[in-house]
């Protein structure tokens, strides 16, 4: 098996010419197995994720030009910690990266090149990492089965039709189909947007039909199928691995579609390894990510997206935990900070907050009784999860829920350090007209409860126009400090970091 023994490339170093790939330093005899990990993160929060990686794993990250991905190198034994990162949605181990792959103009030639690539790639070490990762997954699944799925699903059933299936083994990505936004095509022909797939082959529905769901394809023609079958002789023990190829392609200069690339690359993978192609019940998921001239071949390490980890009871617009984590990190919570989410919905943000910042105090509130009930259920599930780990901590979750009205909060003036929330989007909850009145009222109340000078707010909204207008009316209490452009369920949204001015708020707005 060929192994490129090039060293790890720092950004800014001169790149090898042509398509000479750069492989991570292969493990030498006796040396420790290292892995180059690729992680998908909510777009806009790449820097936040890199900070978390630095903090928890001590590794520097590279942020790729293909938005929503970061890369870092760790010893393979750090895999458990890698899985505990809160800002990443999905993980894969890099087989090889090509910074400047030259695609042939002709479709057949380009595809042939991809096929030929397979046998030249350094699969050995990444596959070892994949194996190691599998043994970790087995431990996790055992714990889950013992656990507390059944009470949660019982609760779910009693909540009625609004719930979407919260089955943990099916990551239901309907909310956040576009983990990687579509790159605006420079040329005239808009080629296929990136293939959006979920880990276990469940078809994802796109919200706004902006992106056609280009699904993975592997040439599972009856011929090759039976070839693999025939190849499997009496080595009773050795199980033939099943695989599929997922291709994400972005850029306007490619002569082929992601479907075609996945199909041909997959054919070559099958030839090379004699694995069996299987779309839904696969062991190995090979990733082929093409972003203009950047090509990354990887092997998936996560099955279900991590971003639904905290939530067992969904609502219509549940925020993914990785995005909640990114938002919380943005406001830099300090120990003893009081953090409030006044429109908490199912509680994604406060739950993430309480899990990751246990030395802060988190208060969640909503006016909807369903939301409050769901949030309370989600917290119970979290508590029960904690119980199995460390019973002494079962009651000490620094989190409370209240039913209240955002426009008239029953909180003392200046008593809160941080306000962090997902503001209602016109299209999914409420309406654009309602937002026109709601947003200024929200900002005023949030300003009143927030500590002058040191207080801050992190607000997610899709209604950027309405927000900007509302903000301009409350310039005396809020200053805009930073804006992060994100993608939520196919909609382009923004996260605003605001700082509270030193001006003191009136005690309470008079109502007559």
């Amino acid at each position: 098996c060929p192994a490129g023994r090039c060293g790890w490339v720092q950004p800014g170093m001169a790149e090898a010419a042509g398509d000479a790939g750069l492989a991570p330093a292969a493990a030498q005899e006796g040396a420790e197995l290292a892995a180059v990990i690729g992680a998908t993160v909510p777009t806009g929060f790449e820097q936040t994720a890199a900070e978390e990686v630095q903090e928890k794993l001590g590794s520097a990250s590279r942020i790729s030009r293909d938005r929503g991905k970061i890369y870092f190198e760790v010893p393979a034994r750090s895999l458990p910690q890698v899985h505990r990162l809160r800002s990443v949605d999905n993980l894969f181990v890099v087989v090889q990266e090509f910074k400047d792959y030259q695609f042939k103009e002709n479709k057949e030639d380009a595809l042939k090149d991809l096929e030929d690539l397979v046998k030249k790639l350094p699969w050995t070490d990444p596959l070892k990492v994949w194996e190691l990762n599998n043994s970790l997954k087995k431990k996790k699944t055992k714990r889950k089965k013992h656990g507390l799925q059944s009470p949660a699903s019982r609760e779910k059933l009693s909540d009625g039709g609004e719930e979407r299936g919260a089955d943990q083994s099916n990551s239901n990505d309907q909310e956040d189909c576009a983990q990687n936004p579509v790159e605006p095509a420079d040329g005239q022909d808009t080629e296929n947007p990136q293939a959006v797939t979920s880990r276990n082959g469940v078809e994802e529905e796109e919200e706004d039909n902006e992106q056609s769901d280009v699904k993975v394809e592997v040439q599972a023609s009856s011929e090759s199928g039976s070839k693999a079958g025939d190849g499997q002789t009496g080595e009773g023990e050795a199980k033939v691995l099943k695989f599929r190829v997922t291709c994400n392609r972005a850029g306007d200069k490619h002569s082929f579609t992601s479907n075609e690339a996945a199909r041909d690359f997959g054919g070559a993978v099958q030839e090379h390894f004699q694995w069996k192609a299987d779309m839904t019940n696969f062991d190995v998921e090979v990733l082929l990510n093409i972003h203009n001239n950047e090509v990354v071949v990887g092997i998936a390490l996560t099955e279900e997206s991590l971003h639904r980890r905290n939530i067992t009871h969904f609502g219509p617009t549940t925020l993914r935990s990785t995005l909640a984590y990114g938002m919380l990190r943005l406001c830099d919570p300090q120990p003893t900070d009081i953090i409030v989410d006044p429109m908490c919905g199912t509680g994604a943000i406060p739950i993430e907050g309480a899990a990751e910042w246990p030395y802060c105090y988190h208060i969640a509130g909503d006016n909807s009784p369903q939301a409050v009930k769901r949030a309370a259920n989600n917290i119970c599930s979290l508590l029960r999860k904690n119980e199995s780990k460390d019973s002494s901590n079962a009651l000490g979750v620094p989190l409370d829920i209240i039913q209240w009205d955002i426009c008239n909060l029953p909180l003392r003036t200046g008593s809160v350090d941080i306000v962090v929330t997902d503001m209602p989007f016109g299209k999914r909850i409420g309406s654009k007209k309602k937002n026109w009145d709601l947003y200024p009222a929200c900002l005023m109340e949030m300003g009143r409860i927030c500590t002058p000078g040191t207080g801050r707010a992190v607000l997610l909204t899709q209604d950027k126009k309405c927000f900007a207008k509302a903000l301009s009316r409350v310039g005396h209490i809020w200053r805009r400090a930073q804006t992060v452009w994100v993608n939520v369920g196919g909609l382009h949204a923004a996260v605003y970091l605001l700082r509270r001015t030193w001006e003191r708020a009136e005690e309470r707005r008079p109502f007559w």
């Binding site: 009081i338 105090y361 208060i363 006016n367 409050v372 309370a376 009651l395 000490g396 620094p398 409370d400 829920i401 209240i402 039913q403 209240w404 009205d405 008239n408 909060l409 029953p410 909180l411 003392r412 008593s415 809160v416 005690e507 309470r508 008079p510 109502f511 007559w512």
Partner: protein, 91 residues
């Protein structure tokens, strides 16, 4: 509802005097012991601090109500969640 949360809540019934509405009176569904007044110089006493921590963060009011000290308006607490919504005529 934990006691630390109660510390941040105030009644928002309209027409209260400035600074009014705080603190809300806790009425419990059934009797329970509440801690006595704290002694001065308690901050360095670790045993005391543990008890305060326990009372603030590990004791939950599950059923009961909060009463506005000025207007007398009661807000129910059910299954640990206080409902502080005002009715349409009140707001």
């Amino acid at each position: 509802m934990k006691l630390l949360t109660h510390n941040l809540l105030s009644s928002h019934v309209p027409g209260l005097r400035p600074g009014g509405g705080f603190p809300l009176r806790i009425e419990l569904g059934r009797p329970s012991e509440l801690p006595p007044e704290p002694l001065p110089n308690s901050e360095s006493d670790e045993e005391f601090l543990r008890r305060v921590h326990h009372v603030l963060l590990e004791v939950e009011v599950l059923e009961g109500s909060l009463q506005c000290p000025d207007s007398g308006r009661r807000f129910p607490i059910s299954k640990g969640v206080p409902n502080l919504l005002l009715s349409e005529d009140e707001a």
